[in-house]
Homo-oligomer: 539 residues x 2
């Protein structure tokens, strides 16, 4: 067949058409997962909106059964609302939104998710989604819309405006080919984990049986609002630099670098100037690829301060501790927030880790309890695709037995990990798995090893205290008999002999403790081998 | 912060910009994987083009090192070439192509891949890709182009046209931040596996050290060209049906169904008519959602012939056998092509499986040999993301020890699986992992169990033959001594006694074989338990 013939079918596709045919990329595969994905998109959107607006979130989620595999989902929040002119694009257009362009930590980052809900709803039921929203200006809009798939834009079916003083967003949609379940990967568990990672949010969840669960907020503190931060120079690639240089208002490359990047001072510009063969007073719009390459190379040779942490909003050790204690009531827990680092060159990120042992920690499987990993990215639970995720890989790469946990897979152990970043490198548009960036894996490992050592100290101390107490009890028991015997033999006072024996026992116990401290030191050294491993594998 | 303030940043993103920021979705993560992804996109495009045009493919791939993490890749094929007016869109626009809209089995299906190469090349090196192509009409075009990212369209830097009689396409691009390696996930192994699954292709591969490997074709037979097939009714969803009904030229729903679907006859239409409450003589453009829903429901209650197999092009048992024998030289092999089935409602697909034992089968790891899974989709190797793939899940769900393979993970065993379909349900745009659709998993399991039983028969027969021969040798050895003794004792002819003894031994051996046959029957029944398992787990 000739090429002209073959190319007769050449056509362009819209992004909406693409995702309509490749739903699985957005997380719409399987009946349970599809429903959880809808809840995920609605909840993260509400949380993001509240957080940016500085509002303590109150979220309502209701799932109603309408028949076999047929449900209605209603979500409502007390967020800032959506200005009426943006309603069509927010819900009816993919790759449109407030998040993609900004270097800001939010759960959503792509401008696909919530339009994905509209798409899934209409392609499974033929019905529009209903949006009711107000920014609190006394006017409420109720809009019904679908997506015009070939054009990737909203088709408004109705728009009713009326007066009412209320603020927030309410979404109603119907779904077919989905299924509710209380299983680990279902909507309830998704919401429960969201509540754990967002102790400032109140979430009401009503399941299809009409059971209402209220996740009360355990903290009244509004998390600081995430702010868009300038990119860190060490995260920049040549292509990014060139693009930014074309758009800048600065007149010189030097002022461009200082004004559009974080941590670039005039002293740093001087250091860069020493390493490049052209004048940094040049107009940035005239920069060539090779010159940008020189700048990027220079930047990688120079030390910069770590990215500013105001761009990152971790949950915080105290909040995590409360949440973990609250829910798992463990025998032992340790929480750690690592300092901010950069991945993929220069995107700031930060890792938070908690481990809990005993109590309700671990995952209940049949009669037994198994090791459990709870993954979060920007406080949103990651429920699916655990296999290919950097978090899973990092956790499984730890030699837990070094920290005194013999059969870790069958221990009542929960590891909680949250990665916060202005750009989480997800492996696909479904956002359930973090790409295996080595810096991220390294940070998680570092954090786990640190809490692992704390666990080890606790656990071996507990074990030894138990052993010591056993020994002491045995010795004490026999000391009385022994004292009586010795008293007769030596014809001395029995009480005095007993006192002497007890002194001996106490001394022996002290010796034990000293020995243990020595041993502990050795074990600690052994555990630090892990650090070495990391350094060597980091290339 | 007020909503109006928050929405000041509302913006639209192009698909190219989206993938520029989320490279990992296309498979561009890590230095080795990024290079393999480029080779993958170029090779699959060449193979698809040749196959559609009915040309025996000759493909040339060269990777040159230009410095640290900096390479030049050249690919060339003898394919049909690209008509000049389509060059910009093929290489410079995402979601454009000949494949997305058609129900046809090709390696590419999204219209993203090769523009992804342009994007990756220009964002890492700032350079255009160079394309030289001709449809064989005496004119050759040499074009240099980049993508205008904000507009998702090609920016042509140069276009030189000259006269020459030649046909094919040659692509040259530079890449940075990538790395060549001979490892399992590198370009060489990718090409080697491509050669295994495409025995009709000749592929020349030149690595950065200048080593040239020629994968000669082991078959001169051009595979039949894939043809676009009409969708099978049982794969259709309400939304699809409604969309098709809006675009059809048919005047009645009945003729619409007959002309635009495969396996729908007027008898079937009659069956549908009996199940719906409106007249199928209606104009299809006037169909309502609820009416389409009735049609889809009716279709699911009716039996249809399996999807026509002319839409599917398996490699074929003979070709796979040749390839496997050629490369692995195994002690045992079994090949199986299952009949076509449908997934996700009605997309036709077919599974091909081969197992090889002994010889060069298995994966060499250090000193040992491990179980190896070679995954393919539409003859393209799947090298990454094995963890979340339906193929891996299906293979690992088999209880190999039932088939006589004790420690399967450490056996010299290669399992080769190819899924062919007009639409492979990949989990992400990187196309390295197949979504876990239950019909696909079931088919793979069925195929593996069938070849597993063949292996079992071979293996237990071999084991028994060995045991039998050992026994026979022992008996024969003693029969001579025994005959001499008996001859003396009974005063009879030694030779005759020996003959009698040998007869006895032969009879005993026959008994063994009969017993084994009985045993074999039992084992077979046990293995069939697996089938039961499948039936039960299939809901």
């Amino acid at each position: 067949m000739h090429a002209d013939e073959l190319f007769k079918e050449f056509r362009e596709t819209s992004i909406t058409e693409f995702f309509r045919k490749n739903r699985a990329h957005l997380g719409y595969s399987g009946r349970l997962r599809s429903l959880t994905t809808v809840i995920h998109e609605l909840v993260t959107n509400s949380l993001d909106a509240c957080e940016e607006a500085g509002i303590l979130p109150e979220i309502y989620i209701e799932i109603k059964s309408l028949g076999d595999s047929h449900y209605r989902v209603i979500s409502a929040d007390n967020g800032p609302g959506i200005p009426v002119k943006h309603i069509p694009d927010v819900f009816g257009k993919m790759l449109a939104g407030t998040k993609f362009h900004r270097n800001i930590q939010l759960r959503g980052q792509q401008g696909i998710g919530v339009a994905g809900v509209t798409l899934f709803s209409q392609t499974t039921t033929g019905k529009p989604i209903r949006v009711r929203t107000s920014t609190g200006n006394g006017k409420v809009n109720e809009v019904e819309l679908m997506i015009d798939i070939t054009k990737n834009r909203a088709e408004i079916l109705s728009n009713r405006e009326y007066s009412e003083y209320w603020r927030g967003t309410e979404i109603g949609c119907e779904l077919k080919g989905v299924k509710f379940s209380l299983r680990e990967q279902g909507p309830f568990e998704y919401v429960r984990r969201t509540a754990i990672a967002n102790p400032h949010a109140k979430i009401v969840f009503v399941d299809p049986e009409g059971r209402k669960t209220i996740f009360e907020r355990s903290s009244e503190k509004i998390p600081k609002s995430p702010v868009a931060v300038k990119p860190h120079p060490q995260g920049i690639e040549v292509d990014d630099l060139l693009n930014m240089a074309k758009k800048t208002k600065a007149r010189k490359v030097s002022s461009f670098l200082i004004s559009e990047f974080s941590r670039v001072s005039s002293a740093k510009v001087k250091e860069i100037q020493e390493r490049v063969d052209f004048d940094l007073n040049k107009n940035p719009r005239r920069l060539k690829w090779s010159e940008c390459e020189q700048i990027v190379k220079a930047i990688r040779e120079i030390k910069f301060l770590a990215p500013p942490s105001e761009g990152l909003v971790p949950i915080g050790e105290e909040q995590i501790k409360n949440a973990v204690l609250n829910i798992l009531d463990p025998e032992f827990d340790a929480v750690l927030t690592r300092p901010p680092k950069t991945h993929s060159g220069g995107v700031p990120f930060q890792v938070e880790v908690a481990v809990a042992y005993g109590g309700h920690a671990g995952r209940n499987v049949g009669d037994g309890v198994k090791f459990e990993i709870m993954r979060f990215a920007n406080r949103a639970p990651l429920i699916f695709d655990a296999g290919g995720c950097a978090i899973t890989q990092a956790v499984n790469s730890i030699e837990w037995k070094r920290y005194g946990i013999r059969d870790y897979e069958n221990s009542p152990f929960t590891v909680f990990i949250n990665i916060v970043s202005t750009h989480i490198p997800y492996t696909s548009a479904g956002k359930q798995s973090v790409a295996e960036e080595k810096e991220i894996i390294k940070e998680i490992r570092m954090a786990l090893m640190e809490v692992g050592r704390k666990f080890q100290t606790y656990y071996s101390r507990r074990r030894r205290a138990e052993e010591r107490e056993q020994k002491r009890q045995i010795l004490m028991k026999y000391s009385i008999e022994l004292a009586a015997g010795l008293a007769k033999l030596a014809n001395k006072n029995e009480d005095e002999i007993l006192k002497g024996l007890h002194k001996l026992i106490d001394k022996r116990m002290l010796d034990y403790i000293t020995e243990e401290v020595e041993e502990g030191r050795e074990e600690k050294e052994e555990a630090e081998m892990d650090d070495l491993f990391i350094e060597n594998s980091d290339q």
